[in-house]
Amino acid sequence: MGCQAGQNSAEGDAESDVLQIWWSEGYYPEETEAIRNAVASWEAESGLDAELVFYSEKDLIQQTESAIAAGNPPDVIYGYSLDFAVIPRLAWEGKLADVTDVVGPLEGLYSSTALESVYYQNQQDNIRSYYAVPISQQTTHIHYWASLLEDAGKSADAIPTDWEGFWAFWSDAQVNLREATNNTNLFALGLPMSTAATDTSYLIEQFLDAYNVTLVSPAGDLLVDNPEVRAGIIRVLEEYTQFYRDGQVPPNAIDWSDPDNNVTFLSRLTLMTVNPSMSIPGSQRQDAITYNEQMVTIPWPSKPDGSSLRSLVSTKQVAILADSPQLEEAKSFLSYLIQPEVLSQYIEGAQGRFFPVMPSMLESDFWTNEDDPHTVVAATQFTDTRPFDTVYNPAYSQVQKDSIWGQAVRKIVVDGVPPEEAADEAIAAIKQIFTEWE
């Protein structure tokens, strides 16, 4: 029957002998095509049938939750933000299938961070096990326009590598750029300030790590009552929101969704942006001039204390619903997908938006090509990583689901709430969440 890509036709309740796969739609057709090819290959090899349904990310979360509530979920789910909030909660509630027999045979090929990220606590059965299959990973990358930087009278060599100098550089560049182009609609930084964008939380947490603020210990203990932690939170919120208050960020960033900093940057309305995943350069691979000459990817600056920044990594993962009537078929598909040659083909076919979670795959030409100005820089960020706090305590997934950090940011920039007050409210909310999860 072939791959029935019922593209978000949401005719989700298809025949019972067809594997129902719900997948997050990519940012460009190549991503979507890559998973279609993988599914089609599996069908050809296994002789089994699948229906691959694509959803936009916001609709995928809504559709998944309502389908589970209605008792009509798919067999397999994947979304690039599901690891933040949805999958940890489902694992906690015992609604995901144990996939140890899928991950186990290839355990030695995975990075330790990837394996940590899918080793969830199942509170129903009071066990900890593999409840999702890692397929890729992302961290945040910094991109800027060389042409706009030139218009601003700045050179790439002049970009500081220390934390304070780095951020001040872009502020100065905005002033110059607006003068040079006589365009006040150009901004230095494309940073989300909204509750709708998971990117907001991602960046705040990267900033927290830059300031050595630890919210959750590796043992899962919440540390927000520590005065130093509170002071760090206040400092981060103050610094991050100051960019907006100083007019360096587009005003409507308070309402951005995840794709919107991409849109603004690629429309050349922001000079620089920080973005989880490589979706920005990935979208321009086919335009050699833009990809190779005009757009630049650079590493993060050093932390405020001078040490090198650890990359906060989000592991992209696929999960099987525990009540799936196609459990064996689902495991067969995932076992096929994570074979290095298949997974490599999928990740590279998706234009390198996400990085491999098997270190050996990073040795391929795709990731080591010195002529690729973006991938080779970004790959270096995966040498020193740490996972999200969700790994240490699944209650933290609720913090991300509720966009606690997004709310704090928005309160400061929209409502004028002082950073101290916003920090205290965020801390109180986090403590409340952790209490509810006990």
Binding site: A5, G6, Q7, N8, S9, A10, E25, G26, Y27, Y28, P29, E31, T32, F54, S56, E57, K58, D59, I61, Q62, Q63, S66, A69, A70, T195, A196, A197, T198, P250, N252, D255, W256, S257, P259, D260, N262, V263, T264, L266, S267, R268, L269, S283, Q284, R285, Q286, D287, I289, T290, Q294, S403
Partner: protein, 467 residues
């Protein structure tokens, strides 16, 4: 008859009269009825807001929604009052003396307990009858309205299908049969990073494509914004020139489909470049070698969609929908992770709710993805009777609503009349019984309890002993 008893009768009569007058002139506070219908958060609907504006001298005041609360409160007043009276009597020794203070030997109505409590009993009875009539009539009014609304919803679901199918096919037709393929190919392959509108090498191609796309008739009454995108999503031509040079994602926010995969549901989003609500259809353009050279992207005309949905020509003129002056039909979609937005012809009014809209009906349709009907507060916090449909193919909720106040006004009017007439009767009866009692006492000629009719063995009667 003791003076205190007499005073009490007057008090009861005056209270009953005051209540009757008040209820005849004014319904009970709207707060009560909002408490009944308020089951979710609510933000406003434009048509309802317009109807809630203060009445002018010329216009009739907008009817307030009738509330069951006042029909609960009204019988409660006399019941509570009567209960209080009884309890007080039982707790005081005055009860026996006040009962004995009633005129003896008169053989009149005043000897009956029911006469003493006539105002309270009357008020209770009238309230209960009014309540019963209102509830019955209310149920009789709601059911056919919901039936009518469901018929509207069914028709408009089909209209929604027609509109989207038409737009989708138009996009596919334009992409598959472009009349200026060589010009389009030239723009797509050479236009990125340049200004085709003014570049002498591209201007001819640009003008030819402009002329072609601006005069398309494929979209019927809709006037979408059409753009040509490179494979990287950069706009090289747009019927909205300000968009040229900008980026449009090819997927995720954009609804991307092909000839053989055309079931992608539309995605509603707010453009970060225009802050406008949009649905963008996109499909690839292939050259003669069947290589994808770019994408045609169409920002659908949502105002045309709203007009299409709001036009309900198939509804009978005598239906509740057609006769309603408060009818409202609109679409709601999930525009981001955190908010729903409305598609309506009155976007100016909806714009003040940029933080999103919600109601019981919207939540059921958009979040829970189910169809239904019921009484709830619309985003204006106005009680409505609504039917909602989750149009899964289009990722939108269809809301069909009428104002409860308008529909239930006959029931409210009837209840008010019954209550007013009933209370008038109660008041008149109370006053009549009081008058008869006084006349009877006067005819007997015994005003004080210390008459010869008092048994020497009976407790001494004191004037004014009725509490």
């Amino acid at each position: 008859m003791s003076q205190s008893w007499q005073h009490r009768q007057w008090q009861s009569g005056m209270i009953a009269l005051a209540v009757a007058i008040a209820s005849a002139l004014e319904p009970l506070p709207a707060i009560a009825h909002r408490a009944i219908a308020a089951e979710g958060t609510a933000i406003a609907a434009p048509t309802q807001l317009a109807q809630q504006s203060p009445p002018t001298e010329e216009s009739e005041p907008a009817p307030l929604a009738p509330s069951p609360w006042w029909l609960i409160v009204m019988p409660a007043i006399p019941l509570l009052g009567g209960s209080f009276t009884c309890i007080k009597r039982r707790l005081t020794a005055q009860r026996t003396r006040s009962m004995d203070a009633a005129p003896r030997g008169s053989g009149s109505l005043g000897d009956l307990w029911v006469v003493s409590y006539f105002p309270l009993l009357g008020l209770t009875a009238v309230s209960l009858v009014t309540f019963g009539v209102y509830v019955f009539q209310r149920s009789q009014l709601i059911a056919p309205v919901i039936t009518d609304l469901e018929a509207v919803a069914a028709d408009q679901e089909a209209a929604l299908d027609d509109w989207f199918d038409g737009q989708r096919q138009a996009v596919l037709d334009v992409a598959s049969q472009p009349e200026n393929l060589p010009d389009i190919e030239e723009l797509l392959t050479e236009g990125a990073g340049r200004s085709p509108a003014t570049d002498p090498d591209l201007k001819d191609a640009y003008d030819a494509v402009k002329d072609y796309l601006e005069n398309l008739e494929a979209f019927d009454s809709a006037e979408p914004s059409i753009a040509l995108l490179t494979n990287g999503g950069i706009v090289v031509f747009s019927t909205t020139p300000a968009r040229e040079g900008q980026y449009q994602p090819l997927q995720n926010t954009t609804t991307y489909f092909t000839q053989d995969r055309d079931t992608q549901v539309p995605n509603l989003y707010v453009s970060p470049l225009t802050d406008e609500l949009q649905i963008t259809f996109a499909t690839p353009i292939f050259n003669e070698d069947n290589n994808r050279i770019g994408v045609i992207a169409v920002d659908l005309d949502l105002n045309d969609l709203a007009q299409h949905i709001e036009a309900t020509p198939r509804q009978p003129q005598d239906s509740a929908w057609a006769e309603s002056s408060s009818r409202s039909i609109y679409l709601v979609g999930r525009a981001s992770l955190v908010k729903n937005q409305v598609i309506s012809t009155d976007m100016d009014t909806w714009a003040e709710f940029s933080d999103g809209v919600d109601s019981l009906g919207i939540h059921a349709a958009v979040v829970e993805r189910r169809d239904g009907a019921g009484l709830y507060l619309n985003p204006a916090k106005v009680p409505v009777i609504g039917v909602y449909r989750w149009a899964q193919r289009h990722n939108l909720a269809l809301m069909v609503e009428v104002n409860q106040a308008e529909v239930l006004q006959p029931a409210q009017r009837t209840a008010r009349r019954i209550f007013s007439i009933g209370m008038g009767i109660v008041v008149a009866g109370s006053l009549l019984s009081l008058w008869l009692r006084r006349n009877t006492q006067a005819a007997d000629g015994d005003v004080t309890p210390s008459s010869d009719a008092v048994s020497p063995t009976s407790p001494e009667q004191q004037p004014g002993s009725c509490e």
